[in-house]
Symmetry: C5
């Protein structure tokens, strides 16, 4: 779980990242507390700033890209894969 804080502009980058929306996210818990430091994630679900989102990391992050480009050259390691509507506790 994370909240979208903003975005990153990068002109000089790996070809596999061209055309990807790179968002600044901040991990949160289900009480909306910010719990760890910011990181950068590629956005696949058109999340907006302030949205609470589902994030996957590592090799799973490349799976979310596999429809659009050949996996073998994708360097992404963190991806937004869902927008959180609600926490049920």
């Amino acid at each position: 779980m994370a909240r979208v804080m903003g975005s990153v502009v990068s002109t000089q980058k790996d070809p596999s990242l061209v055309g990807q929306k790179l968002m600044i996210i901040r991990p949160i818990d289900s009480d909306q507390n910010e719990i760890r430091f910011e990181q950068v994630a590629a956005d696949k679900v058109n999340a907006g700033i302030g949205d609470n989102v589902l994030v996957v990391r590592g090799s799973s992050a490349r799976r979310a890209d596999s429809e659009n480009k050949p996996d073998a050259t994708d360097v992404n390691d963190c991806t937004i894969v869902g927008i959180i509507d609600r926490f049920d506790k």
Copy 2:
């Protein structure tokens, strides 16, 4: 080891996550102390809120899904794979 705290409702998400139960879990130690921040895990064993569960992360998390859908597009990176009955120490 983790305890199930609740669940997450997400309508707009990666197709591989549709139909999966997404639970909020909190890592615990064998004395049932909560030891790290919450995260989201896909539930494969019908765990309930308050259950102590076994959790796997990273590429192992996708293995638990492999019976039901093609692995190559699965973006899950954290999965509940067992319910803990008892700690023996």
Copy 3:
């Protein structure tokens, strides 16, 4: 490096975990200080409670299982792969 603290009993779990000894381990340093929180590891070397052990994580953890069952459905992500006799410093 970790010390074996106990074991976990789980009846309802992923088929790939059936028959595996699931131990509670606690990371230690070479002065035998406990340095991080407990986690669960599958035991491949018949470690006993109190033993200092070598542990591997992530995709490497599944390698230690590959003789006994098909790797593709193994969900293990932490494995005990050796018993430590001595630290030389």
Copy 4:
């Protein structure tokens, strides 16, 4: 996100690392605060000291190398894949 702090000189190393620029990086947040400890990353975008950069870790780090050498013997686990021009918040 990380800032380039310097570089590392290593003569005796794995063959797959020969000819790679190995930079010392320090993770930062979008307010340019240094947030974690330094680590070493292979540079693929000609970053300079003081640049803010995008970094990938784990198996994704090897993807960025795949044009130049056979992936199977590449031991790199952290790679600089972009130079950050600006944070939008």
Copy 5:
């Protein structure tokens, strides 16, 4: 980046670890401060105690072994891949 602190003696271990030098390492930053807890790494470059070394983790650690044995049964998850001569800052 890490410093070699000592070595580990283990008789009962996974077959893929037999014959490997297992060193105790401690992560450091470029000012030679020790920054995290010790861990065990397989040594591929004949590092000595006190040397500052380059370390890779996870699936990358198995790449450094691939010349000598079949990758599929290698359980190593942390490998020393270079000796650091100098930090340039």
